[in-house]
């Protein structure tokens, strides 16, 4: 009796499953078409939800072969969502085959589904393995491509390393490859660099990064508006070429009133300025909201003047050790050449108004930060590794603290400050001369209660 009731129940469930599977297959088909045109996080999420539903339902009705196939698809998509590989480069065939297979399952009679799947189990396994192999063989994350020029191709990218570790890498200049023990390594001559894993920051961080970039653009746009208004140059009017200023007397002689290009331009410029203001405010709000929504920030920890500071990894291009003898200066400002680009260096201690950096006889630890189109190097005292930090707003009684985004508590319980990368990039517009040779020995971590 029980078996009959079970079979009856299974038949009902299978009927529902087939109906739902038909709908999910249509969604899957449409989703695959969309990501073939353009890959977006939303589309990936949509596909993940669909295959997740297929997986759960397959398990529920006792079809593990179908569930395993959905599981392989879900794993592939999840990895793509986490930017561990490029979905654009995914092999379309296994996905299409899987989609067709689900479509065929939905078309089977209830009583035939199990047998039909059993006959094709080996074929389905091949598709699942192809998807799993695609994950393993997938391309390196796009974000690390910026490091590839400096890293030998045959080396692993190191983008999936364990937290707290920074893998040693070859030198920037092929002629002088050296390894770097970034957190505590002994200094040596030449450039040494280490990649920073950057596949762990989530949507919140990406949103913050994007908002930060937009904010900078909006700021530039806002700064540009008064310049445009004050400019003596007038923009070309379509069909009329570049206009010259129209004097009132000349305008009065015109029989047919025409739009004054100067007034037109001033009006447009004012509108542009208002738009820029609004854009700036709105993006600022987005960044604030995104910061509030993002509880964990993957950070590189550095030592500045004996204390811990954190830099969000999402804005770091790489970390390098640079021999002082290899640092020329342009107009008193030191710079370093990486990938053929001269990158200006700023001193973290001087930027934070903490004179008297620890004297450093060896290489300078430099964090190469990246903005939308710029890079700059922040010279710190030491690298301390990586940690996932929860940014904590600074006490409101402090007011605005320059270059500081938030506070945080490290794993060992000691406090740290998260640097504001946007503030840092704004600061590089003002060159800060640096002379470490005259620096004094820095103080160690202070304690609240002095030892007597």
């Amino acid at each position: 009796m029980g078996t009959e009731r079970e079979n009856s129940g299974n038949t009902v469930m299978l009927g529902l499953f087939r109906e739902e599977l038909a709908g999910w297959t249509r969604m899957l088909d449409a989703g695959l078409e969309e990501i073939e045109r353009e890959v977006t996080p939303e589309r990936i999420d949509g596909l993940i939800r669909t295959v997740h539903a297929i997986r759960g339902a397959s398990r529920l009705v006792g079809l593990p072969v179908a569930a395993n196939l959905a599981y392989a698809m879900e794993g592939f998509l999840s990895e793509a969502g986490a930017e561990k590989h490029r979905l654009a480069a995914y092999p379309a065939a296994p996905f299409r085959q899987a989609c067709d297979l689900f479509c065929a399952i939905a078309a089977q009679e209830d009583r035939d589904i199990s047998r039909w799947l059993a006959e094709r189990e080996s074929d389905i396994l091949v598709i699942s393995q192809a998807l799993q192999r695609s994950v393993r063989e997938a391309e390196a994350p796009p974000i690390s491509e910026r490091c590839e020029s400096a890293v030998p191709k045959e080396e692993p990218t190191g983008c999936a390393e364990a937290p707290g570790e920074i893998e040693e890498r070859g030198g920037v200049t092929p002629a002088a490859p050296e390894t770097a023990d970034v957190p505590d390594g002994e200094p040596s001559a030449g450039y040494r660099e280490a990649e920073v894993p950057r596949d762990r920051f989530g949507d919140g961080d990406r949103l913050i990064e994007l908002a930060g970039e937009c904010l900078d653009q909006a700021r530039r746009l806002r700064a540009l508006c008064p310049v445009l208004r004050a400019s003596d140059h007038f923009p070309p009017v379509p069909g009329k070429g570049t206009p010259s200023p129209v004097l009132p007397a000349e305008r009065d002689r015109e029989e047919i009133p025409v739009a004054d290009p100067v007034l037109q331009f001033e009006s447009s410029s004012k509108q542009l300025e208002q738009l820029a203001e609004r854009l700036y405010d709105e993006i600022l709000e987005i960044r604030r909201t995104a910061s509030a929504l993002s509880p964990v920030l993957r950070c590189l920890l550095v030592e500045i003047h004996g204390e811990s500071y954190a830099l969000p990894i999402s804005r770091i291009d790489r970390v390098v050790r640079v021999s002082p003898s290899d640092i020329p200066s342009i107009r008193g400002r030191p710079f370093v050449s990486i990938d053929g680009e001269d990158i200006g260096l700023i001193d973290a201690g001087e930027l934070l108004r903490m004179p008297g950096l620890p004297a450093s006889g060896g290489d300078w630890p430099v964090v190469i930060m990246r903005d939308r189109s710029r890079r700059c190097g922040l010279v710190v005292d030491a690298f301390r590794g990586e940690e996932d930090l929860v940014p904590m707003p600074l006490d409101r009684r402090l007011g605005k603290v320059d270059f500081i985004r938030a506070g945080a508590i490290l794993e060992d319980g000691s406090p740290a400050l998260v640097l504001d990368m946007n503030d840092l990039f704004r600061a590089i517009e003002t060159p800060i001369p640096r002379d470490r040779s005259t620096a004094e020995k820095g103080a160690p971590l202070q304690e609240t209660v002095p030892k007597s």
């Binding site: 934070l352 406090p415 400050l417 609240t448 002095p450 007597s452």
Partner: protein
């Protein structure tokens, strides 16, 4: 007495100070001779900073912790405001009461055996602050009758933050006015990081 020389304890000069006119804080009110009787007891925590003993209303205390690592705040830290500390998973602003109260370093320093340093977190919700002390005597119940008026002799800034003094276990203890202390802490933040006002 010149507190900056550090020759005499701060509290010795307190009986010679005049009481601040027209100001009566919440915690000093119960000890006013005209409003309280000898039976009104108030709980205070007594602690030592360098050679000076102070008491603060127990209700203002939030937590007592061991010494914690301090992180300076660039552009904000000076000799009065030291930075921030992590106490129990929260970041608190840390002040040096020794500098705010202008307590001079005792000649010859403090023997190591007398150093029972702790970190105190006090204040109201949203207005908490931490400060290191060299020793905590404990919680004491004090009565209005035990209190002596602070005299008017100009002394360190600490004397201005004390509403009364009392004797506990043979020690002269200055009763800190909580409101004035909070105001002094807020004032110490309004500096440019070099200890000077903005």
């Amino acid at each position: 007495m010149d507190q900056k020389n550090g020759d005499e304890p701060l509290v010795r000069c307190l009986p010679e100070r005049e009481a601040p006119g027209g100001v009566r804080s919440e915690e000093s009110a119960p000890f006013s001779p005209d409003t309280s009787s000898a039976g009104d007891a108030v709980s205070v925590v007594v602690f030592r900073i360098k050679r000076e003993w102070f008491a603060l209303r127990t209700g203002l205390f939030y937590q007592v912790a061991d010494r914690e690592l301090l992180h300076t705040i660039p552009g904000k830290t000076d000799r009065r405001f030291r930075g921030m500390v992590n106490v129990g998973g929260d970041l608190h602003l840390c002040f040096s009461l020794a500098d705010i109260l202008e307590i001079a370093e005792p000649a010859g320093g403090i023997p190591a055996e007398e150093n029972r340093a702790r970190l105190i977190v006090a204040g109201d919700e949203g207005n908490r602050f931490a400060f290191p002390v060299d020793e905590i005597m404990g919680v004491q119940s004090i009565f209005a009758a035990e209190l002596e008026t602070v005299s008017a002799t100009p002394a360190g800034y600490g004397a201005r933050l004390c509403s009364r003094i009392l004797s506990i276990e043979g020690k002269r203890v200055g009763l800190l006015d909580g409101d004035k202390l909070l105001n002094a802490l807020a004032g110490s933040l309004e500096t440019d990081g070099n200890g000077t006002g903005k």
